[in-house]
Amino acid sequence: MIEKPILTPAEAAAKVQEGDALMVGGFLACGSPHTLIQALKAKGTGRLTLICNDTAAHDLKSGRITGVGHLVAQRQFKKIVTSHIGLNQETQRQMNAGETEVELVPQGTLAERIRAAGAGLGGFLTPTGIGTEVEAGKNRILVDNRPYLLELPLKADVAFIKARKADKAGNLVYAATARNFNPLMATAATTVIAEAEEIVEVGELDPNEVHTPSIFVDVLVRAERLEW
């Protein structure tokens, strides 16, 4: 099996270009690729579109920031597609001030849109959002007399993924609820960069227990930072 390059965090972060759409795994910073996030913060690449379940936390009073909140704070995003910004006051501030465009997507719809992009589907019909503001601008389609919204796939230029373990071929295994959006995003970006706490030899992972097949992963990085 072909081995994937293991890059430094800085080398990996340099794969993200100004203006790219960037997916970042994690749920309120749990299961987020903190090493890559810090490397991208150091690099300072801007005008990005972030696709992430949430923007983690940023308490304007205490100054405490977690996960992708570090990139939001540094104004690296021109647009954010997410389901939740409730714990990040800075994201709310930027949105209200018109500094950053925020597209709020129901969490299940966000997950499914990313999966659809990875799976080559042109879209899907969901009952979620019917009768709410989420309907705006979308096609409503009746199936068996029940209304559904047609939701479209969502893909990215680069995905930042966090795994518990990788083998050198790029197979990934996640831990507990740190799995969340990571396996979905790994299918939906042109370049997939996975940071792993442990990188083992090819053949050491049980093929029944792999969560993300190697072919989705382009670059590996050793996790250096696990704190949120």
Partner: protein, 221 residues
């Protein structure tokens, strides 16, 4: 009559709805309290939308595993027989009707079964998170809320004025005054929690509240 806000009453009453084997998703905040009051002889399965079945109690101090959190980002535990999954699977479970009950917080809830709990335009826009999928997908939707806002305004309405989380999906509303069922665009008061009276609740709530003969007066203390 004096009103004293009481979240525990709400959690206590909701906890008695479940039977053994029910799959339940509890929202952040007030709904989380429900887990504390599930009767000992009833075993429910808690789903957490960030990717877990079999959500257990909060992690003990010093034993936190930061890869294992609930949807509010608090470190938790998993019960034997639980398992993990990704977010697409998690919402497949939710949207696919495999969750029996979802319990959600409320900004406004109305007699048509509409729920608003994710946005106050221009003021507070936390985002809907998983709430829209949960209200749409769960078999039974329970809105859990203190009956009144701090200002004294009832959270039960004729018609929601805030942007909706879900249209016509709420089945039950449990407040610290009573247990309401939404049927045919009206609230039916099924249980009135002592010391409040049905008449007092009707008077203080700007919504159609039907009280039938079988409305019970219940003491939950």
């Amino acid at each position: 009559m004096d009103y004293v806000a009481n979240k525990d009453i709400i959690a206590k009453r909701i906890a008695r709805i479940f039977k053994t084997g029910d799959v339940v998703n509890l929202g952040i905040g007030l709904p989380t309290l429900v887990a504390n009051y599930v009767p000992e002889d009833v075993t429910i399965i808690l789903q957490s939308e960030n990717g877990m079945m079999g959500l257990g109690p909060a992690a003990a101090k010093g034993e936190e595993d930061w890869d294992l959190i609930n949807a509010g980002s608090a470190p938790v535990t998993i019960l034997p027989g639980g398992c993990y999954f990704d977010s697409a699977t998690s919402f497949g479970i939710i949207r696919g009707g495999h969750v029996d009950y979802t319990v959600l917080g409320v900004l406004e809830v109305d007699q048509e079964g509409n729920l608003a709990n994710y946005k106050i335009p221009g003021k507070m826009v936390p985002g809907m998170g998983g709430a829209m999928d949960l209200t749409t997908g769960a078999r039974v939707v329970i809105a859990a809320t203190l009956h009144f806002e701090p200002s004294g305004t009832s959270r039960l309405k004729r018609r929601c004025t805030l942007p909706l989380t879900a249209a016509r999906e709420v089945n039950y509303v449990v407040t610290d005054l009573g247990f309401f069922e939404v049927v045919g665009d009206r609230f039916f008061l099924r249980e009135c929690f002592a010391p409040y009276t049905p008449e007092w609740i009707q008077e203080k709530t700007d919504a159609t509240i039907v009280v039938t003969n079988d409305c019970k007066i219940v003491n939950l203390d």
